[in-house]
């Protein structure tokens, strides 16, 4: 494998993450407070500023999914009365909780001292923490983030969110931390965030080259890791993205395709844009169905759920609360449907994709409701072939490998046939 350089950034990421889990495991002894919160619209800078440690239940759920545990967890949650129909992230989390709350490193996760419900782009988050509140009996702080119903962030929306940050969220976090927010530090953190964001965008946009040096979906979910989790606004993140950027620059120079679990992809046969989250329980198998056919994902919307930076938004140190508000309201699932369609259309054109594919996950209404309209509209507007597959995030019952393979094969053959004609 040509990925000796690649390993550096990956190792770095692994170290960062395991250090984080180690901190969590020691949190209680070290007297540090733990805040559970969600990925989209996370307020990592604020938490770090106050020395609070974040736990992201979604990340736990997806990690459990990758480690093949969610089947059991979901079962446990369903036994406890949860419906088969609802979001499996929630059920995986509840199942994990009821099985001792063992984190991905094998150590138990600390209980929350506070649940920070910043609910961006999905109503299920609200229910999720209502449920956790009943398990942990700790305070919940709600940050209501309005939706971009009309496709833009208005001043009243911004004032509303910034006001809640000022009047509700920050006081609660300060009380918990026992100290005040250090605004100078916050400004520095936000500047670091912006730097990492620049590099992330550069990396994701490298897929415009042919062949693309990255896979913006299967590889992309690793690249966004550090920003999504606990590291935005830290020097760790800045360094990671610099490393990553250097590596990708090398690949570009060498004209190399993306790294796959079986080495560098030799021939880029299809360039695809993907909408929707991946499946975690059969992540490798799913990935293989792409690279096995020579398909490379050149852009994806899922890598924007924790923040959408390629339209120019960067954290702005000069107006901390407003910029955090804008960040929360700007995450991908907070865009209205016409805007999502426009964004995907732009990806298909900018990244010269042969087609686009929607992986519709059963769990997530936030993503899924309306995806079939997205499919129609994109086909109409771009003239490129659209594919549609259905699976789930972490419920192994909803990943039917044979079926998805059948559809993907048909889809790629369809793209091929269409290309041969034009």
């Amino acid at each position: 494998m040509t990925a000796a350089v690649k390993d550096l950034s990956q190792d770095r990421q692994k170290q960062m993450i395991s250090a984080h889990y180690a901190r969590l495991a020691r949190a209680k002894e070290d007297g540090r407070k733990v805040v559970y919160t969600f990925v989209p619209g996370n307020l990592t800078e604020l938490l770090n500023n106050l020395g609070l440690l974040p736990v992201l239940p979604e990340i736990n759920a997806l990690q459990s999914g990758m480690r093949g545990k969610t089947g059991d967890y979901i079962h446990i949650a369903e036994k406890a009365g949860h419906s088969e129909d609802v979001c499996t992230y929630v059920k995986a989390d509840i199942g994990m909780l009821k099985s001792g709350n063992i984190g991905p490193t094998g150590e138990p996760l600390p209980k929350p001292d506070l649940l920070l419900l910043s609910y961006t782009g999905c109503f299920t988050f609200l229910k999720w923490f209502e449920l956790l509140k009943r398990e942990y009996d700790c305070p919940v702080v709600m940050l209501h983030v309005p939706y971009q119903g009309d496709g833009r962030i208005t001043e009243p929306m911004r004032r509303y969110v910034a006001g809640q940050l000022r009047d509700v969220v920050i006081p609660a976090l300060e009380t918990l931390a026992g100290r005040r927010v250090d605004y100078d530090l916050l400004r520095q953190q936000l500047a670091l965030s912006a730097r990492a964001e620049d590099d992330l965008v550069w990396v994701l946009q490298s897929a415009r080259h042919r062949p693309s040096p990255i896979d913006a979906y299967f590889g992309g979910v690793y690249y966004i890791g550090p920003i999504f989790t606990a590291f935005r606004g830290t020097t760790d993140a800045v360094e990671y993205y610099q490393l990553l950027r250097d590596e990708i620059r090398q690949r570009l120079k060498g004209g190399l395709g993306p790294v796959t679990p079986e080495g560098t992809l030799q021939e880029e046969k299809y360039r695809i844009v993907v909408e929707g989250p991946p499946n975690w329980t059969s992540f490798r198998e799913f990935w293989r169905m792409f690279y096995g056919e020579g398909a490379v994902v050149v852009a994806s919307s899922y890598t924007k759920v924790g923040g959408l930076y390629d339209r120019g938004f960067r954290h702005d140190p000069s107006r901390p609360l407003e910029t955090l508000a804008d960040y929360c309201m700007g995450c991908y699932t907070n865009l209205n449907l016409p805007d999502r369609i426009a964004l995907l259309e732009k990806y298909i054109n900018d990244y010269a994709a042969d087609g686009f594919l929607i992986n519709s996950v059963k769990s997530c209404n936030s993503f899924s409701a309306g995806q079939l309209l997205i499919l129609r509209e994109l086909e109409k507007r771009t003239g490129r072939s659209g594919g549609f597959i259905e699976s789930d995030l972490v419920d192994p019952r909803y990943f039917s490998a044979a079926n998805i393979k059948n559809r993907l094969e048909s889809y790629f053959q369809m793209v091929e046939a269409k290309r041969a004609r034009t």
Partner: protein, 435 residues
């Protein structure tokens, strides 16, 4: 002659089609998939080759047989006799299996009675078959299992009523032994079967037997060379073909429909266990598609259950439904519950025809949702798959399509069950042209 073969290994039936170098369909074969996939593919392929030879035979007879007006009748009689011959061969194998089975411990107590009953039943089946192939009555189905099964059940019921062994026991004997029969392909070759068939053709038609004998021998020996084959369908991965000779059934159906009806833009295929909605462009290239998964509700098998429940043949279901007078809305389309739904509604006093028509409409409505998801119905609309043979389903399709998408040309070809195989055969032809 160079032949290109397409094999569509469906969940219910396996279809094979042969095209020649010009893409003309020269042979078709179909069989039950309810057996070993390899065997099914082999049987369908053999049948297609047989069919191709008959195709050649027909042309030769017309051109040089010198039979004049008696030609077509002779050809038909010969074909029927050929099928009859195959049927008898299978029946013989069924008899062998049953007899072997009767030696087992299961029948310690009633071996004699069972043996006797079997004899009576088999005689009955032979008698029925003679009527069917002699042109007396219409065949209930193309398949040995169905044909012999229906006849067997009927005679078994009679035997049981006359004081023979219990009906369930007799039917059990058949059910158990039909399986191996389906897994054994015919061993006799075309020439041999044709010779036997010729012996069966009535004398008046066969008077010129000697005159055509040479011609028959020539056709039987003609060299049909299989240049390449492409497989598709539900069970395609089981086919012993290299990867590049396996095509997705979606593409094959799209292409097949396009070949039959070049103006096709939307294809609906309802098979035994799956339903596909496909959109194609003006070249027959698939642009979008949807198919059901995990749940077989509302597929062809659904009708099978209903027919079983009513104890009638599949092909009788459509005509029955056409007699409906009222529209009944049926919501549950779980295939397995179809029978129960039918019973419930009968008990509630609804008419048989109306219920059956409602069930057909339910299938079509379910297909509509797939169609809608694949992008709706565009003109022209081609309906393929086994359910296309069912007139009531076709009628419901016309109605619903008309109500929701306006006036459309709806194509249903007699060959529609072969759509996927036609596409596959054409892919085989195109593939070898490219190489």
């Amino acid at each position: 002659m160079d032949c290109f073969v397409g094999i569509d290994l469906g969940s219910t039936t396996t279809k094979a089609v042969i095209v020649d170098t010009r893409g003309r369909i020269v042979g078709r074969g179909i069989t039950n998939s309810r057996s070993n996939y390899d065997v099914a593919a082999q049987v369908a392929r053999n049948e297609a080759f047989t069919n191709a030879r008959f195709d050649m035979l027909g042309r030769a007879l017309r051109e040089e047989g010198g039979l004049g007006d008696a030609g077509p009748a002779f050809e038909a009689a010969l074909a029927a006799a050929y099928r009859h011959e195959c049927f008898l061969g299978q029946l013989q194998r069924l008899e062998n299996h049953c007899r072997r089975d009767l030696e087992s411990d299961r029948y310690t107590h009633d071996r004699r009675a069972m043996g006797h009953a079997l004899e009576v039943i088999l005689a009955g089946i032979r008698h029925d078959a003679a009527a069917v192939y002699g042109g007396g009555t219409a065949a209930r189905s193309d398949f040995f299992r169905d044909l012999a099964g229906a006849s067997y059940t009927e005679h078994a019921a009679h035997v049981a009523r006359e004081g023979g062994p219990a009906f369930d026991r007799l039917v059990g004997l058949f059910d158990r032994n039909i399986i191996p029969v389906e897994n054994e392909p015919e061993t006799r070759g075309f020439a041999q079967l044709l010779r036997s068939a010729l012996d069966r053709v009535p004398l008046s038609l066969a008077q010129r037997r000697d005159a055509v004998a040479g011609l028959l021998a020539r056709v039987a020996e003609a060299d049909l060379r299989e240049v390449s084959a492409v497989g598709t369908g539900y069970g395609r991965v089981r086919l012993p073909f290299p990867k590049e000779n396996i095509r997705s059934e979606i593409l094959c159906h799209g292409l097949g429909a396009h070949l039959m009806f070049p103006r096709t833009r939307t294809v609906l295929d309802i098979g035994g266990q799956d339903t596909k909605a496909i959109q194609v462009d003006e070249h027959g290239v698939v642009t979008s598609f949807q198919m059901n998964d995990r749940c077989a509700a509302g597929c062809g098998r659904y009708l099978g259950y209903i027919a079983d429940e009513m104890n009638i043949g599949l092909h009788e279901l459509g005509p029955l439904a056409l007699g409906a007078r009222r529209r009944i809305k049926i919501n549950s389309t779980c295939t397995v519950f179809a029978g129960a739904e039918f019973r419930d509604r009968l008990a509630a006093g609804q008419a048989r025809e109306d219920i059956v028509a409602g069930l057909h409409r339910a299938i079509i409505l379910r297909a509509m949702s797939l169609l809608a998801r694949s992008g709706g119905i565009r003109n022209e609309f081609t309906f393929t798959g086994g359910v296309g043979r069912n007139q009531a389903a076709v009628k419901a399709l016309h109605e619903v399509a008309q109500d929701n998408y306006g006036s459309l040309t709806i194509n249903i070809a007699p060959d529609s069950i072969y759509t996927g195989a036609i596409g596959a055969a054409t892919f085989a032809l195109q593939g070898s042209a490219r190489n």
